[in-house]
Symmetry: C2
Subunit: 302 residues, 2 copies
């Protein structure tokens, strides 16, 4: 079956404090959340780098989900380690430290299987590396991309190069405004469509996500949860589920498929935020997922 | 047909400045927006007070929509006049002046027709007056209520009395937090359910609305508009459409009916924000409404 998703990005350790408690050096990183989430829909290949302190136990969640780790390079040194804390509202993450360690010399080099993936998810990394990946892959059907404020400030030109070569772009509200200089999110999205992107997906945090596309505007609510444990990785989970789902389709390039991908992104993110790290996300049954998808559709049926 | 909606609240003049322009002394007030909106679904009766400066022309939008104005008292003096401005994001209204004028002595006294209304919408007024209305009405099937931060601060006890006697409560996010002391909106909603309210509807501004009820949690997106002209009255329109729609039903007290009422509130609010005052809201065709409802349902169909 032709349903490989190449996920390129960080595999990291997170040290997190929030109103529900704290954890130290747990598995994190955009590529971890995205690939583990994508594994429920497609066959993910991770390309990333970790240090020699990354143990077999740290690989367990990936292996359990049959995420291909051939592209997870091990370098002498320590794994990328992020530390941060959240307010009770989870709206703002305050970074306490960012120890890039081996990640600062990350240079993705793809093997044949990775080059031939049907879908590519460029998680939040230096846009120059995203370009390097796009130069290596062989005609993927779907290219989705994420970014962050740091790259918009420091590597805007490279990011605008990336933008011309992707199908789906994930941004949050402030990133969309920062990148385009346009406050209105729909107008910001339309400016990005003019750059050649097909689907601009603006992540709205606890308010779900909005799609700006030539086929129409869509806003979808989140899967509503009363108790949120930790929001780290929610956006990466959204992107991984979205891209993984599209990779599983024969025809992905239409509004209905994109809407379903958004629904899946929202529903999968609801699992991630129920625990620290990938504890919940990596341990789902098909029934867990189907049940929430059904509940979501039911919520939106009049 | 038994579908009267009694709307008690302000009929006012607004002077507004925002990024799209400015208007002076245009028709505003919560009861205006709510009753005109409700008129598309039910038979609204307004109970309010205006000054002798309120002209026949000011009554035109009501009369055009067959809103019953028997309860619109005219007192010697000037009509309530609010002045405010908005930032480009419409998230914060800055009040420039609030000339209550004749409204400060508003004392709703109902006639027989008003007392027998099937539904009551208590727009944002002093909770002591809301209690007075509830003391006068004769067993309405539906009582919905709105409020604002000012009353939560200054008349909390009276407002908590009101809360015990209503079916539906509309609040925005900050009001829900202020009233309950609970940051999490779902927990805040559940605290209000414990007071006897059946349906707590938290208005999320440009992100739609959330329902907290014993039958379940629902979050619905807004009707997505690229260009927002002025958001004044959007919440009142939501409440009026919601309550008016319920008044039109034989069986209103179930989750499906409430979800449709939320959809209608969202869709009707999308018309209000396309113009200053009720210019757009008071001039809709059934086709305008049906077309947006259809588009909304289609957006949420997977």
């Amino acid at each position: 079956m032709n349903n490989e998703v190449l996920v390129v990005g960080s595999v990291a350790f997170d040290t997190i404090e929030n109103a529900n408690g704290s954890v130290q050096r747990v598995l994190g990183g955009a590529a971890s959340y995205a690939s583990i989430c994508a594994s429920y829909f497609a066959r993910p290949f991770v390309v990333g780098v970790v240090g020699t302190d990354f143990t077999e136990a740290d690989r367990t969640p990936f292996l359990k989900r049959q995420v291909n780790l051939d592209g997870l390079e091990v370098r002498e040194g320590k794994t990328f380690h992020w530390g941060g804390s959240y307010d009770k509202d989870f709206n703002t993450a305050v970074t306490k430290f960012t120890d890039l360690n081996v990640f600062q010399n990350f240079n993705p080099v793809l093997n044949e299987a990775q080059k031939n993936a049907k879908a590519v998810f460029l998680a939040n990394i230096n846009p120059e590396l995203q370009i390097s990946v796009l130069d290596q892959v062989k005609n993927p059907k779907i290219v989705a991309c994420d970014t962050m404020n740091y790259w918009i400030s420091s590597k805007k030109q490279a990011l605008l190069e990336v933008v011309k070569r992707i199908d789906v772009f994930f941004l949050n509200e402030s990133e969309a405004r920062q990148l385009t200089g346009e406050y209105n999110l729909i107008k910001a999205g339309k400016l990005l469509l003019e750059q050649g992107i097909k689907y601009v997906v603006i992540k709205l945090g606890s308010n779900g996500a909005m799609l700006v596309s030539r086929e129409g505007l869509v806003q979808l609510p989140p899967f509503v949860l009363e108790h949120v444990h930790d929001t780290t990785g929610a956006g990466d989970t959204f992107g991984g589920g979205f891209t993984g789902y599209l990779a599983s389709l024969d025809e992905w390039d239409n509004l209905q498929a994109i809407k379903r991908a958004m629904m899946i992104g929202n529903v999968m993110a609801s699992f991630t935020i129920e625990s620290f790290s990938v504890d919940r996300l990596a341990n789902l049954t098909q029934k867990d997922i189907d049940s929430r998808l059904k509940e979501y559709v039911s919520m939106l049926t009049f």
